[in-house]
Amino acid sequence: MSAERERLRRVVYVSHTAVEPGQPMWPVLDSILTAARRNNRRAGVTGALVYSARRFAQVLEGPPESVEAVFERIQCDLRHDHVTVLEVSEPEARAFGDWSMAFVADAPVPAEALEGPGGAARLMAMLQAAIRNTEAAAG
């Protein structure tokens, strides 16, 4: 039982892949997810990543310093560009607490549709639904 509630930061962003069209994307996604899951577990960061129509959308949540450090490392990666932050917030609780980095490919809502007003909320809802569906299918 923890007496104090954990102080949390969440950041939601979208970006474009910088991998040439026609080049296989799976090895890139695989390497991104492997590194993310390893680093995030260590840093206490959880979140979700969607890749669709050459766009990434990602949610990172956890202790503020860790989230900022992980976000900064992502910004130094040249495999994506056109980074836009949709939301920086201090949520009450984690939305993806069970996932060091949940992954959704070819999401029902294309990532490009998430840019613009309300995009962050739409992304959160879409990711949570997609992950619930995946769990139900697996269970």
Binding site: R9, N39, F56, Q58, V67, V70, Q75, C76, V88, M101
Partner: protein
């Protein structure tokens, strides 16, 4: 994307680095540059030097505080270290200024590639203390020995290219060109000539009449600054006012214009005529303006009602509260205030209501189409109607044809100015112009009576 491909965290020796960014200190970078440019010491191979600075560092510092500013510089240092190749040296050479020395072999292609990588990485958001911050960077590239063989000269080349990148919109890179050196040379020469021009008496005012559209009565003149350059002849304001504004010389020049316009207007043959004087943003932002106006009126004996100050929308935007207070005090003296070039900036119609004004001048871009484009006519009509309901006069600028004059009149403008009435004339010709316009009106009246 959570892959971490960056180089080791501290690629440079600790004693030579800036503690904030982990990059080389200025002296260490200059020493590296010196070594690279000394053939006797094993240097002398072609290399590239990049100068860069952040586009919006000051606003981050001002709005989010120095702690966030420092965190930004720290993160910028990390991103620069990510961007450079092994063996390249990167340093922080000023507050938010950086330089990268690319080791040989480095030519234009690899330098441009690195510069593009730096622009891209520094253009991405930073997450600092819960704020998403976008600062952006501009980069200038100089090549050794093609652009310069001396370290300091090479750094100047890179800085000139950086300045060019900033001038042309920021967030981009520019390669040094010899023409940039010539242009900087030219600017420096113009600046020192401009500094001397007041003392040498090279400025003069020309005057363009503005007339009332109803009846054609002459209402006054706008004072327009000209520079009589000993070699270049009569120089138009567009060629030196931007530089004067950049260097702050606009303040003494503006004061000279104010004093001279008041003195010359006080001597006109018709003591009812108003003289309109342009006031720059920098003048309006200063408290001295009111005192300068009082002094100019006192020295010339010109009645305050005969002086009109023209301010631009952009000038009002810089510090609205100060500008508004200054204009209110000037109007309390009896001086009139008009809003110049209306429609070209960002002022809203709301500003017309709240700002202490006597007149709005409709920009020439709307006037030229008033008789031919329904959109321009609609804008002129709307501004004129609003002016009327707020008790302001509306002057159309740049009127060139009788058709435009008639359309402006039909759309509710009260006054006009432009080549149709007269081009700007030297001070010595003002009285002749006053007579000519009066004679013209009399002839019109006679014709009307005869008809």
């Amino acid at each position: 994307m959570q892959h971490s491909p960056g180089p080791a965290d501290a690629p440079f020796p600790a004693e030579a680095t800036d503690s904030l960014t982990g990059l080389l200190r200025r002296d260490a970078l200059l020493a590296a540059l010196e070594r690279a440019a000394t053939p006797e010491g094993g240097g002398g191979q072609p290399f590239a030097l990049l100068a860069l600075d952040l586009d919006r560092f000051k606003s981050v510092n001002d709005t989010l505080g120095h702690a966030v500013g420092d965190a930004l510089l720290r993160a910028v240092g990390r991103r620069i270290r990510t961007a450079i190749r092994d063996g390249d040296a990167a340093g922080r050479i000023g507050g938010d200024e950086f330089a990268i020395l690319m080791t040989p072999p480095a030519g234009e292609v690899s330098a441009s590639a690195l510069a593009a990588r730096v622009v891209e990485l520094l253009g991405r958001p930073f997450l600092l203390d819960g704020h998403s911050v976008v600062t952006g960077a501009s980069v200038g590239i100089a090549l050794y020995p093609a652009d310069a063989a001396e370290p300091e000269a090479l750094l100047r080349c890179a800085d000139l290219a950086l300045y060019q990148a900033k001038q042309e919109g920021r967030g981009d890179l520019r390669r040094f060109q010899p023409a940039l050196r010539a242009r900087a040379e030219e600017r420096r020469r113009t600046e020192s000539e401009l500094r001397a021009a007041i003392a040498l008496g090279q400025f003069e005012l020309h005057y363009q009449p503005h007339v009332e559209l109803d009846g054609g009565r002459l209402a006054g003149f706008e004072a327009l600054l000209r520079w009589r350059h000993p070699a270049r002849g009569l120089v138009a304001p567009a060629e030196f006012v931007p530089l004067a504004e950049e260097t702050g010389l606009i303040l003494p020049i503006g004061e000279w214009v104010l004093r001279t316009a008041c003195r010359e207007a006080a001597g006109w043959s018709d003591p009812s005529l108003v003289v309109a004087v342009n006031v720059a943003a920098a003048q309006l932002a200063r408290r001295e303006l009111e005192g300068q106006v009082r002094a100019a009126l006192a020295a010339s004996g010109l009645a305050p009602q005969r002086l009109e100050l023209e301010v631009t929308e952009t000038a009002l935007l810089q510090d609205t509260a100060t500008a508004e207070a200054t204009c209110a005090r000037l109007r309390a003296l009896g001086v009139r205030v008009s809003l110049d070039d209306f429609g070209t900036g960002y002022s809203s119609l709301t500003r017309l209501r709240s700002f202490p004004l006597d007149r709005v001048k409709i920009d020439r871009s709307f006037v030229s189409g008033v008789a031919t484009e329904p959109e321009s006519a609609a804008i002129v009509r709307a501004v004129a109607a609003l002016g009327q309901s707020l008790g302001l006069r509306t002057t159309a600028e740049g009127v060139e044809t009788p058709t435009q004059r008639d359309a402006l009149s039909a759309n509710g403008c009260t006054d006009a100015q432009g080549y149709l009435f007269s081009e700007p004339v030297p001070a010595a010709s003002v009285d002749a112009l006053i007579r000519r316009i009066a004679d013209g009106r009399r002839a019109q009246d006679d014709k009307a009576i005869a008809a």
